[in-house]
């Protein structure tokens, strides 16, 4: 189990930023880890920036906020530009290359490009791009088990979105496959 991993997930409202953060948090609780998740929204109800922070740890978590995450999952260019310089040296940046160019100014970070929108579209629904990214992150860095994410779907998704669970699970797996799992 990893000691502590700080993740920032960022994109536009409507991309399912909050929900993948919550899935990660829920899976971590299932596995007995400590976890905090907290959101920042733009003032708009729809379409503004959406960011959340998730911290998963094997010990009690102090600060729920971080200015230097270990991991960034960036779904769009503006949020990638905002957060990429903050990632700790040795950290990992997951870039949705369907909507953003991989950064060139983070020489000390590992950059993982996933064309999440394209992959999700091929799978049948572009809205699952968030799940592709989450699958890639969890497949590569293993903060939780992929199975725990799947087991969290029922609890985390609102009732009207539970019909997407099979498609979400497929997208998670596809994302993990793309990073060689």
């Amino acid at each position: 189990m990893l000691k502590r991993q700080e993740v920032i997930i960022a994109g536009m409202g409507g991309q399912g930023i909050m929900v993948i953060g919550q899935l990660l948090a829920h899976a971590a609780v299932m596995e007995g880890s400590s976890v905090v998740w907290f959101p920042t929204y733009g003032p708009e109800t729809r379409g503004g920036f959406a960011e959340c922070t998730v911290i998963v740890a094997s010990e009690e978590i102090g600060s729920p906020v971080t200015s230097t995450p270990d991991v960034l999952i960036a779904m769009t260019q503006p949020l990638l530009d905002k957060f990429a310089p903050t990632v700790k040296p040795g950290g990992t940046i997951f870039v949705n290359t369907s909507l953003a160019e991989p950064p060139t100014n983070c020489p000390n970070c590992k950059i993982v490009g996933i064309a999440a929108n394209d992959v999700a579209t091929e799978l049948g629904n572009v809205k699952a791009a968030n799940m592709v990214m989450l699958g890639a992150y969890v497949g590569m860095l293993k903060p939780v088990k992929l199975e725990s994410l799947k087991a969290s779907m029922e609890e985390v998704l609102p009732e009207h979105n539970r019909r997407f669970i099979p498609a979400n699970n497929a997208a998670l797996e596809k994302g993990a496959t793309l990073v060689g799992v």
């Binding site: 998740w37 600060s63 971080t66 200015s67």
Partner: protein, 359 residues
């Protein structure tokens, strides 16, 4: 472990209210506390309790006044601008010696401010807020678990001290998802209220009132309230310490900044700097005696707040000149990060400590 459930601090407040046997919730929408009325709208009826969305914060607190007059456990929740509106009612509740719980999920201010986290309502909460000589016992949770635990405690304190009790949070503590163990294991205290208005049914009539035209009677009420506050200052002070015993510099913080400071302590200790964290859990009564004791041991203090410096005044009063008290604050909705607080500690806190020691 079995009952660990991922929830927001705001949601934990609701489950805590149910565990406390809350009879009635009256509220009004305002961000960042909307999860509370939303969840209460189903949780309260499911537990045979009352939920009502009032037409305003003013009405909500007056509905609390009515339900509390009837001897029931009543509460409201809001965020900074809404709490300002409730101050009239809180003063009346204090004056009429009614128990109730008020949750404030603080946001950036003044004015309409913003919906991000703030702590600039400290003075308003612990120094009175409304008119008149009264105090509000105030609990400051720093985790979703404490949001849950503190609700039954708040209702018990309200009953015991016959006055309003505040839960002072911030947007991060309210919005943050964490695992909470819903154990339901709380002590039950005597909740009988002979003073309540319930219909006379054979007894002499009860009156709930805060109007006393006779100045001597009004003064007696104030003396009675003050006596209760002295008892609370003696019996109800709560705080937590982390690595304080050998600390050269003691960070003092509550709510989200206390969480940040806990990480700062770890960062500092990794660098060999003797930094500790003192976390007041009751903001009123403030842990004055313990801070004074620590000050005597030669530690310096640094209050860290999401305000321009409010709690730091209570730290200074407690230290009473015996040690230097520094301050680091961010405000207007900005949350201090561990890195910036650590850098400040290194630049101003620990270095000046070391300089003092050399001198």
């Amino acid at each position: 472990m079995a009952n660990r459930k991922l929830m927001k601090g705001n949601e934990a407040i609701c489950y805590g209210a149910v565990a406390a046997g809350c009879d009635a919730f009256f509220g009004y929408p305002i961000t960042p506390q909307n999860e509370i009325p939303e969840l209460m709208s189903t949780l309260m009826p499911a537990n045979n309790a009352v939920f009502l969305q009032a037409e305003s914060e003013v009405s909500a607190i007056n509905m609390v006044y009515g339900a509390a007059s009837a001897g029931k456990r009543a509460m409201t929740s809001s965020s900074s601008p809404g709490i300002s509106l409730k101050q009239e009612g809180i003063s009346y509740i204090a004056g009429a010696e009614l128990p109730c719980v008020i949750v404030n999920v603080q946001r950036g201010g003044p004015g309409l401010g913003n919906t991000q986290a703030g702590q600039a309502d400290y003075f308003q909460t612990v120094k009175g807020g409304g008119h008149g000589d009264y105090k509000v016992l105030t609990l400051a949770p720093w985790s979703a678990q404490e949001c849950y635990e503190f609700m039954p405690l708040a209702f018990d304190l309200a009953d015991q001290y016959r006055g309003p009790v505040a839960i002072l949070m911030d947007a991060i503590i309210g919005q943050m998802l964490e695992a909470v163990e819903l154990h339901g294991d709380f002590p039950s205290i005597d909740r009988s209220k002979t003073w309540a208005v319930t219909g006379t049914r054979g007894r002499a009539h009860n009156v709930i009132n805060s109007l006393w035209i006779d100045v001597n009677v009004m003064e007696e009420l104030n003396i009675r309230l003050q006596a209760r506050y002295r008892t609370a200052e003696r019996d109800e002070v709560r705080y937590a310490e982390y690595q304080v015993d050998d600390a050269d510099l003691v960070l003092v913080a509550y709510g989200c900044p206390a969480r940040v400071c806990r990480t700062v302590v770890d960062l500092a200790r990794q660098e060999g700097l003797k930094v500790g964290l003192f976390r007041p859990i009751t903001l009123y009564p403030f842990p004055t005696a313990r801070i004074a004791e620590i000050a005597k041991s030669g530690s310096q203090f640094m209050a860290v707040e999401m305000s321009c410096g409010q709690m730091v005044e209570d730290v200074k009063l407690a230290v009473n000149g015996a040690a230097e008290v520094l301050f680091y604050g961010r405000t207007g909705g900005v949350v201090p990060t561990p890195t910036e607080v650590f850098n400040f500690v290194v630049e101003y806190g620990v270095s000046s400590c070391a300089a003092d020691k050399r001198a």
